[in-house]
């Protein structure tokens, strides 16, 4: 009983103050804002994963790949890229993030990604 009481207390504590659904007012976003968001999302998805079928790469993608290669070389070594590439011809954030996360940790990888995407 005592344990159950504690559990209820924890649940009660975890409740976050939230507005009821009736009180919420959803306003339509301006079209320009949505376009801007779409552009940003497209840019992000292009940077995240290099399409293996497309051969042309933007300057930003090239810069990200170069920076990632440099980081991989400094952290792991010059040969590690061959193991990561697999079917892909270029290194991308999607292909390199798992190994960085595994060996450096999530927080260090977040810092690293921030530096890779700096000024892009």
């Amino acid at each position: 009983m005592r344990l159950l009481g504690r559990w209820e207390l924890m649940v009660w504590r975890r409740k976050l103050p939230s507005a009821s659904v009736r009180e919420m007012r959803i306003e339509a976003a301006p079209a320009s804002g949505l376009d801007d968001l779409q552009v940003r999302l497209n840019l992000w998805s292009n940077l995240w994963a290099q399409d293996s079928e497309s051969t042309s790469r933007s300057e930003a993608q090239q810069l990200v790949a170069e920076r990632l290669s440099r980081w991989l070389e400094r952290c792991f070594g010059q040969h590690v890229q061959n193991s990561l590439r697999g079917n892909q011809s270029h290194i991308s954030l999607a292909s390199s993030t798992p190994i960085f996360t595994a060996f450096l940790g999530r927080r260090a990888t977040r810092e690293l990604s921030r530096r890779v995407l700096q000024d892009i």
Binding site: L72, E73, R74, F76, G77, V80, S83, P98, I99, A102
Partner: protein
């Protein structure tokens, strides 16, 4: 070379330089006075500094991983191995009365039962227990490396070395098992596990080395390479003890073989220092400086 690693090896070089002076005195006079003092005072201090450094750095590396990340356990085990080595050094120093503060000789008297004396407890904690922790940690690392296809294939040389190591372990066990009839203490029996555990560590070291070769010369690769070096040096030290106990080494060679353990301690401390350097690199701006681009 990262700053921490550089300091570790500078300290080792300085320590070995002093050790050479002591060894020169031993060669010139044939007396163990200076050599004994060197290992007694400076040697114990060096081990304390190295194992403390290794433990602190391993704990910092561990703290960079979240609780659900597999490497947190690996670094936790490596930190435990370092702590066990540190405790082993302290226990042996206390047992031998090597500490400058207080009179600890009463504690070194046989306290019967599980361990023959405090020194044996130190040997067990700093030996088999530490090796067991390290074996679990490296095993975890190998699993992660395999996941990323970094595990390489064993060459004929690797297989030959593995065969030799296993044969040595089995022969040592065959020698020790009949001694069970003499009712040895638990400490003695635990010390028999040293060779099989060292063999396991060597096997892991060979596998880790293959993956390091597949990576290259990066900081993380060097971190695991340092563990391989430390384990190989430990094995060499173990082999030297075996050879010395069988009268295969001269007095001078036996004295030289004692210096091996300083190299092993420095290599063990360098491993987390490399990992720490790799993590620290993500917080520095040097990578994107114009010179690097």
């Amino acid at each position: 070379m990262p700053r921490q690693v550089r300091w570790i090896w500078i300290l080792l070089a300085f320590h070995l330089a002093l050790g050479l002076v002591a060894f020169g005195h031993f060669l010139a006079t044939g007396q163990y006075v200076v050599l004994g003092w060197y290992f007694w005072a400076l040697g114990s201090l060096f081990f304390l500094v190295m194992t403390s450094t290794e433990f602190c750095l391993a704990m910092i590396c561990r703290s960079w991983f979240d609780s659900d990340e597999p490497m947190r356990l690996a670094w936790g085990m490596i930190a435990c191995a370092a702590l066990a080595r540190l405790a082993g050094v302290v226990l042996r120093a206390v047992s031998d009365g090597h500490l400058p503060w207080g009179n600890w000789h009463q504690l070194s008297q046989p306290f019967g039962g599980l361990f023959a004396n405090l020194g044996q407890l130190g040997l067990v904690v700093g030996g088999p227990l530490s090796m067991a922790f390290l074996a679990i940690g490296l095993g975890r690392v190998l699993v992660i490396q395999r996941k990323f296809h970094l595990a390489g294939y064993l060459t004929r040389g690797d297989k030959a070395l593995l065969f030799l190591v296993l044969a040595f372990s089995i022969s040592q066990l065959a020698i020790n098992l009949p001694l069970l009839w003499n009712h040895p203490s638990l400490g003695t029996m635990l010390l028999w596990l040293s060779d099989p555990l060292l063999s396991l560590l060597l096997i892991e070291a060979i596998l880790v080395r293959r993956s390091v070769i597949r990576m290259g010369q990066g900081l993380v690769a060097k971190c695991w390479g340092m563990f391989v070096l430390a384990i190989v040096i430990t094995s060499a030290g173990d082999a030297a003890i075996w050879a010395s106990s069988h009268g295969l080494l001269s007095e001078q060679m036996t004295a030289i073989s004692w210096y091996i353990w300083f190299l092993a301690a420095a290599a063990f401390a360098s491993a987390p220092a490399y990992q720490f350097a790799a993590i620290s690199l993500t917080r520095e701006d040097s990578v994107h400086s114009p010179a690097m681009r």
